[in-house]
């Protein structure tokens, strides 16, 4: 009974809406049917190679056997096969750290910092090895999902302190410092990320003294940090602007100097306000890590792109990209839901 009332109010209120509902139902049903037919009914779940897979599905269905065969490569790339439990553990560790940081009971600066420093150190040791009897693995074999997570997490963690300084500098009373910070932020925000990554990967080696070389991963990471910092700085500035003037005046009245006023009174409040928009910036940053593919790093997108060029399994691009897109979607959707929830709870 309630379902009928609901349907009349939401689907069949008026003649036009009823027609619209019917048309949309037909379209959705047809679309869904095609997807189900392709992805489930006509799909092939195991096959020895690509040609057999095509033959089994009559070219009409998905070949999930491709994912069955290639998921380890797409997730971990060229990391030594027998040691792939290490990047798997790193991915799990990252997820535990992120989930733990989402809990408001954990929101104490010392606790969070300690947890992340300890966690990241463990991740580095697991990935790179060379101690505790773990075989050494060079960074060019750090591929796939762990690389994506490293780039995003270290990029944001590295950019954050820089962003706070830039945001404070932009609101500073000192004209020189303000001009420098405004110039940096607007310069970076005015150019595409890919140009910054190009600069980092091509120009950075030229900037360093002769004889000093840094590898591709560190260069791209540096580019991401410099880029994220400008965007995070604008979010933090938004938080700083939302602090009532009375807070500054009260801190002044207590006789606090600039740094103590900032670190004890202003920043804690400003950062708390900024958390929901910060999470939105994190989502954008996470998606943006895919651009490192263009400067030759082997992230999750690049491993998928590489898997579909295998001669025996050529051309299953839809399956590969659906798999990778699903991974990105889960991470981003979780973060955006979390940000929305947080916003609602902080507003209360």
């Amino acid at each position: 009974m309630r379902a009928i009332v609901w349907a009349r109010a939401n689907l069949f209120n008026g003649i036009w809406n009823s027609i619209l509902t019917l048309v949309v139902v037909v379209l959705i049903a047809r679309g869904l049917w095609e997807v189900v037919q392709w992805g489930v009914i006509d799909a092939v779940w195991s096959a020895p190679d690509g040609r057999a897979c095509r033959a089994l599905s009559n070219d009409a269905g998905a070949c999930w056997a491709f994912i069955g065969q290639w998921n380890r490569f797409i997730l971990f790339g060229r990391y030594p096969y027998d040691a792939q439990w290490r990047p798997l553990l790193v991915v799990i560790l990252f997820m535990v750290l992120v989930l733990a940081s989402c809990d408001r009971r954990m929101w104490r600066a010392g606790l969070l910092a300690g947890m992340w420093i300890f966690g990241l150190a463990a991740c580095f040791i697991l990935m790179g090895g060379g101690v505790f009897g773990l075989a050494k693995v060079p960074t060019d074999l750090w591929n796939g999902l762990p690389l994506t997570l490293f780039l995003a997490v270290i990029g944001l963690a590295g950019a954050f302190p820089l962003a706070i300084l830039l945001a404070l500098g932009r609101r500073s009373q000192l004209p020189t410092i303000r001009a420098l910070c405004v110039g940096y932020i607007e310069l970076i925000r005015g150019v595409p990320l890919i140009t910054v990554l190009f600069m980092a990967s091509v120009m950075l080696p030229l900037f360093l003294p002769a004889g000093v070389t840094i590898n591709n991963l560190v260069r791209a990471q540096a580019g991401l940090i410099l880029f994220y910092a400008a965007y995070l700085a604008e979010v933090v500035r938004g938080g700083l602007q939302a602090i009532p003037t009375g807070q500054y005046e009260a801190a002044d009245a207590l006789g606090l100097g600039y740094w103590r006023k900032t670190s004890l009174i202003v920043l804690p409040q400003a950062l708390a306000i900024s958390i929901p928009p910060l999470v939105n910036t994190f989502i954008a940053a996470f998606k943006d890590t895919t651009l490192v593919t263009i400067v030759g790093l082997f992230d999750l997108l690049a491993t998928a792109g590489n898997a579909i060029t295998d001669p025996e399994w050529r051309g299953f691009y839809v399956e590969a990209y659906v798999f990778v897109a699903a991974i990105y979607f889960v991470f981003c959707f979780f973060m955006s839901r979390y940000s929305r929830n947080l916003e609602r709870r902080l507003a209360r």
């Binding site: 020189t176 150019v191 190009f198 030229l206 003294p209 002769a210 997108l301 897109a325 959707f333």
Partner: protein, 323 residues
Amino acid sequence: MNNASRVRLILLQALVLGAVVAFGAWLIHNTLTNLESRGIATGFAYLERQASFQIGETLIAFAPTDTYLRALMVGLLNTLEVAILGCVLATFLGVAIGIARLSSNWLVRTLAAVYVEAVRNVPLLLQLIVWWDVLRVSAPAPREAWLLMPGVFLSNRGLVFPLPSFTDGFHWDIPHLVGFNFAGGHTVTPEFAALLAGLVVYTAAFIAEIVRSGIAGVAKGQGEAAAALGLKPWLAMRLVILPQAKRIVIPPMIGEYLALTKNSSLAVAIGFPELMSITNTTLNQTGQAIEAITLMMVVYLGLSLATSGVLNWVNARAALQGR
């Protein structure tokens, strides 16, 4: 503020400025040393040299005998073309989806929400590559081209659509098969079509959210008053709600237009010859990375500043005049 602390602040600024200048000088010194030891030429003289590469798609005439400077102009014009077309199309699609998000029909608003969530949470580069693969790998040869609309065909050679022609009276120049490819009409390459489709679909999801919150931001009484005046929902939307939502919506829309323009640089991954791709080819051929990248960044920065300048002027005119 007393004199001692004022002097301290001036000293502090001088110190910071000095450190930045010293750091810059150190970088320049290192760069010059490195360039010299590697035998790389400096300066912008290369712009006058012959480019010697083909460009698949140009708005102005270009031959491999033309200069690098002209190649860059071709790239810039291609960037502008895709950016302007993309912003217009994304606005239409985004506004439509934003309105659909607030539809009284549950199915329509759920469908719109699914679109927004699915598109926003998947990286743009991945979407671009998939669009490109769809056109390259899955789209049929021209003989079996997909008919999208009467006269509009999609094949692995790109998108073909009719153009109005004014030679000997007005008529439509309708594409038709000649041998293995289409003749007549206007052809858009797969690279351009993929880039445009990817940018439009992606940006429209963000514009839809802006439009939705803009409409939601118009006071509820406005819609009720319009209904009380006897305006039909569609007219109320067009005459009362949207004009007011426009004011709320313009500033964040500026941000999306800028983002679309900058995102067009991802074309380098699928080989559409815009500014970034041309720069990439140029720096690979000449080795003059610093000049090429600096020039490109300056052009993008100029483009961003010009766009935001124009749109901020539009915004200032649209804003409610305070009394």
